[in-house]
Symmetry: C2
Subunit: 195 residues, 2 copies
DNA sequence: GATATCGCTTAACTTAGGTTAATTCCTTTC
DNA sequence: GAAAGGAATTAACCTAAGTTAAGCGATATC
């Protein structure tokens, strides 16, 4: 398939957000990843120094503790830029993996080469600034929720924030997102039913 | 005092980080905040849409829950850019306040006007990108530590990460940083002493 | 169509950490 | 130097959530 056809969805994404970015200046080959439900784009511990664009689908960021417990850091629905900023920028091992929860299509470029070419475009820099601001703000809000609210409240907040996920993904994944065990979530749901 | 003299420390900060940014293009007046120990630069709930530069001193980001419990999100030593990205970018109320833990000097510019002028400078955009990347990565690591480690481990990590703070700030502030009560921290320290 | 397998629930028990309060120790302040 | 307030410790008690395990539907596999 032609490069421009493949990158169409990314170009559209930029345009929709109001950023006048021309991808055709890139001399880099884009890579296409087709993920089935359950597949990992990359695993925790991999060096994932790519710029990833989730064209369609749904993924979760999942990190595993030394004791083997899974924790879901976030859910992301396409179209959206995804990936580990840390791994991308510092070429270090990612502290989480990205797993598809549905059939998903992901485009990627090696970050360093991509940034070297795109940084010439002030519009791209401004897009990237806005992207970082956005993901930072959402992390700020999540941290605050974790510190300030109980697990029960975090569950209720989740249901409001992701109404479409509430009934489509597994409860254990919701539990790992709000930072408790599936058993504890089941108890909370039981208690809420009674109210 | 002259504008250029006031902004000297910020100019030096940019230069040290290797960013060729010329502040003298700014037609904006800089504001200087002189904080005593305990003073707030801004409080949670204020709209703090300024670009703040902590020239010298030490601050903490502190948020308070509905029940009145304090939580310290981070400690920052000058020289460093500080502030609430969310409040700055979206002109919304800050979800935390910034409190000086020592005598501190802070410079500030209103963000919108500052960004409008500085965005013309690609070097500034790249500095701002690097700044966002850095604070994002540190948030990513903190989130991970919170999910993966016990309070005891988080205390030990704190001692390694902030050796100079360990003995200079109050234990209740350390406790609020690692997300437990002062009583619980005291218990942990007691237990560690026995080992 | 029988049988694993997986996700969820429920129960019983354990544990980390919260709550309250008393005690001591240190600073301030007058 | 006495008094008062704040910080840390310690103890007793409580609660939310973790752990383990049994049971129960679903769905998938042969």
């Amino acid at each position: 398939m032609e490069q421009t056809q493949l990158t169409n969805s990314l170009q559209t994404y930029f345009n929709r957000l109001g950023h006048d970015i021309d991808l055709s200046i890139l001399t880099l080959p884009v890579e296409v990843h087709s993920l089935s439900k359950g597949d990992y784009l990359f695993q925790q511990g991999d060096v994932a120094s790519n710029f990833y664009f989730l064209s369609t689908g749904l993924v979760r960021y999942v990190s595993v503790s030394d004791e083997g417990k899974e924790f879901t850091q976030s859910f992301v629905k396409g179209p959206s830029v995804i990936g580990s900023t840390k791994s991308m920028v510092t070429k270090s091992k990612a502290s989480f993996g990205i797993q598809a929860l549905e059939e998903s299509i992901v485009l990627s470029y090696p970050w360093t080469a991509f940034y070297e070419q795109m940084r010439e475009d002030k519009n791209f820099l401004e897009f990237y600034v806005k992207l970082l601001e956005r993901i930072f703000i959402s992390k700020e809000e999540r941290e605050s929720a974790f510190m300030k609210h109980s697990a029960e409240r975090r569950y209720l907040d989740f249901c409001v924030a992701f109404p479409e996920l509430k009934d489509t993904i597994q409860q254990q994944q919701i539990a790992s997102y709000i930072g408790i065990t599936p058993v504890a979530l089941s108890r909370i749901r039981q208690k809420l039913k009674l109210c």
